[in-house]
């Protein structure tokens, strides 16, 4: 009985091996291009990953496969994409392990990045070690220029916190010059990567532009009542309220500011203002609220992208990282098709030097980062989250003061 079974198993194993070998011999023409990613499907990062990143991956893969796949010149035909996905549970060790597994065991041809600054930094060395392009579009870090030099395979689409702060400071300085706001600012920030980085850059930027920080405090993650902070900010007499917050607090800050009838002339909030739930929740009351990112109202390509996104996922993309992320995938697609085969070194080279057509316009990277390719500061104006800074073509004029709340 036992012998019979092991004989059977042996035969089966041989058969599988033979089949496997047979497959390998004909593998000159890849049956598919394997794309792998580890992303936070659960844990604290899941909220952001599910809005900005996963829908873009799904949309892009579907579009490419609907076309018949990626066109590889080297074999003269289109090859479909096959996706391997892992959950990194918002944990950096898990993310590193999953990426290594994707590379060494699943033998993927390409990798997509994880969500957030922390995890992108965590997996950076692995991407670099195996020479996979890392097109990070949900990471903001002041170390981006340095990282791009150390890991030439890494691309930092959202740039540095200084860029955003500089754009904000320029905008505020102009308002002060026009006599629209006083020179005092109240700032709150979340005590986590994003809040710490941006508030540090902002502190320096505001000081340099001779703004006075009338209130400057940080609060821990998971704070469920922000009314004490809003009360202090209101009493500080500042015309400008700046919060580097995460989505749950961004919503809570808006809600509680409205309840307290605290309508600063400039209200700048953090991540979440560009999320689809924000206008759903606050409707007309979003008018005048500012944040990071922003779209150009007259850009037909992004409007089409939005429609496709909505058709597939039944919700809008977010107004900061989504369009940039989708553009980065378009760039990857064009780079692969220009190279004509899965030659990661050549693809990285093409990404670094080529010029690409994307939904946000033509992009050519400088030191692995886009330059003035998309709005850094946006503002809700008549139900559209429009880009207002840095100054340049396609930017709308900023509206100050923010209108009073409609209760």
């Amino acid at each position: 009985m036992n012998r019979g079974r092991s004989l059977f198993a042996g035969t089966l194993a041989c058969a599988i091996l033979t089949l496997g070998l047979g497959g390998a011999v004909t593998a000159q023409e890849p049956a598919s291009i394997k794309v792998g990613y580890a992303i936070s499907k659960t844990g604290p990062n899941a909220g952001g990953a599910n809005i900005t990143q996963i829908p873009n991956y799904q949309l892009w893969v579907k579009e490419v496969n609907d076309k018949g796949g990626l066109m590889l010149k080297s074999i003269g035909k289109r090859v479909k994409i096959e996706v391997i996905e892992y959950d990194d549970r918002s944990n950096s060790e898990e993310a590193v392990r999953a990426v290594e597994r994707l590379i060494t065991q699943d033998k993927v041809d390409l990798l997509f990045p994880p969500w957030g600054t922390g995890l992108n930094l965590a997996v950076g060395p692995v991407f670099n070690k195996y020479g996979y392009p890392q097109l990070a579009f949900s990471a903001v870090t002041d170390r981006a220029p340095e990282l791009a030099k150390r890991w030439p395979n890494s691309f930092w689409f959202l740039g540095t916190s200084k860029q955003y702060v500089d754009a904000l400071v320029d905008l505020l300085s102009q308002m002060r010059k026009d006599g629209k706001i006083n020179d005092s600012i109240a700032m709150v920030s979340i005590a986590d990567g994003f809040g710490i980085d941006l508030s540090k850059a902002a502190r320096e930027g505001f000081e340099k532009a001779k703004f006075k920080l009338a209130y400057d405090k940080s609060y821990p993650i998971g704070t469920q009542d922000l009314s004490p902070l809003l009360g202090e900010a209101q009493r500080s007499g500042a015309d400008t309220f700046v919060a580097f917050s995460y989505p749950p607090d961004t919503v809570a800050l808006t809600d509680q500011a409205k309840v307290a009838s605290f309508a600063p002339k400039v209200m700048f909030l953090g991540v979440g203002v560009g999320f689809p739930l924000y206008p759903q929740r606050f409707g007309e009351n979003t008018e005048g609220i500012m944040s990071l990112g922003g779209w150009q109202a007259d850009n037909k390509a992004t409007a089409d992208y939005r429609a496709k996104h909505k058709a597939m996922h039944n919700r809008d993309p977010d107004y900061w990282g989504s369009q940039v992320g989708y553009s980065s995938l378009q760039m990857l697609e064009q780079a692969i098709e220009r190279v004509g085969k899965i030659d990661r070194e050549a693809i990285i080279k093409e990404l670094q030097t080529g010029t690409f057509d994307t939904v946000i316009g033509k992009i050519k990277l400088d030191n692995n980062m886009p330059v003035k390719a998309f709005p850094l500061i946006g503002q809700w104006q008549k139900g559209f989250y429009t880009g207002v800074a840095p100054a340049g073509p396609g930017m709308a004029a900023v509206v100050v003061p923010k209108p009073a709340w409609k209760q």
Binding site: A46, K217, Y219, P228, L229, P247, V259, G272
Partner: protein, 290 residues
């Protein structure tokens, strides 16, 4: 400023008490340390959101649907999933360990179901988000409502447990499940009832906080942690203690945020928790022996 701090502290504390009451009942009487507490709460929040956004059911009416459903589901969970553990456990401590493991598993099941149904994105809706002025301080109506519910449920259940026959039976089971049958109390039925009631309270808390908090399928553990602190501070199984502990935490956090530094609120919570554990390990209202 002082009045504002007091009112927002009380309102925040009311929310803390509300989310902890269900757990104190489940842990105190049924002796089930329900680690899936926060997930059940978020499930109720999703139920309220779903009723509100797809069927336009007012969340307060939604309570009438969600709370009885949670009662029935919790009762079924106790009967099907936890009764075998209760039967097997040689003593209370063993049951506590077993229940922690079982509910830890349940946490992932509930979270997984919510992830499949709603994905990991954030959800939020607006209901009763208008300002109410009390003694010169402004608070949101929905948060005030949560405080009112917490006070009514806390006091009401406290009176029920201390003044009625069934309430006395529940307390008897909490104090000594081995002797309770001697006075003709059906321990298992009473424990199941307490667990189901706890589940109903959790659901009520979930529906109420969904009116003002932004949540997603992964956020439950945050509430489990907070609830655990409140339950242990207030004395396990004591609803009045739970209410007071919640209010104390809320006030302490708000005062620290207003007058010292908002960055220290978490530190304050844990410092208070440590002090109580050192000085009164049985909690504010707990009795020293089990």
């Amino acid at each position: 400023m002082f009045v504002a701090a007091v009112t927002s502290g009380l309102v925040l504390g009311g929310m803390y008490a509300l989310i902890a009451m269900g757990l104190t009942l489940q842990y105190g009487v049924a002796r089930i340390m329900n680690l899936a507490h926060g997930e059940l709460m978020i499930a109720a929040a999703f139920a309220a959101l779903w009723l509100f956004s797809s069927a336009a059911v007012n969340p307060l009416l939604g309570l009438l649907l969600v709370v009885p459903a949670a009662f029935a589901i919790s009762w079924a969970i106790y009967r099907l999933l936890l009764t075998p553990l209760v039967r097997r456990a040689p003593n209370r401590d063993a049951l506590e360990v077993d229940s922690i493991l079982a509910t830890f598993g349940m946490l992932f099941v509930i979270q997984g179901v919510m992830l499949v149904m709603f994905g990991g994105a954030y959800y939020s809706y607006s209901f009763l988000a208008f300002p109410v002025t009390i003694a010169g301080a402004t608070v949101a109506a929905n948060r005030l409502l949560a405080l009112a519910f917490a006070a009514v449920i806390g006091l009401g259940l406290y009176l029920y447990l201390t003044r009625t026959r069934l309430g006395t039976a529940v307390r008897a089971v909490a104090v000594d499940p081995n002797s309770a049958p001697l006075v003709a109390i059906d321990v298992r039925a009473t424990a199941a009832l307490a667990f189901a009631f706890g589940g109903a309270l959790v659901a009520a808390g979930g529906v109420l906080v969904s009116m003002f908090l932004t949540f997603n399928a992964n956020i439950g553990v945050v509430f489990t942690m907070k609830a655990l602190i409140v339950v242990i501070m207030g004395g396990v199984g004591n609803l009045l203690g739970c209410l007071l502990a919640g209010l104390i935490l809320g006030l302490a956090e708000t005062f620290v945020a207003t007058f010292v530094d908002p960055g220290l609120t978490l530190a304050t919570t844990y410092a208070l928790f440590l002090i109580i554990l050192l000085v009164r390990p049985q909690g504010l209202f707990g009795t020293a022996s089990r």
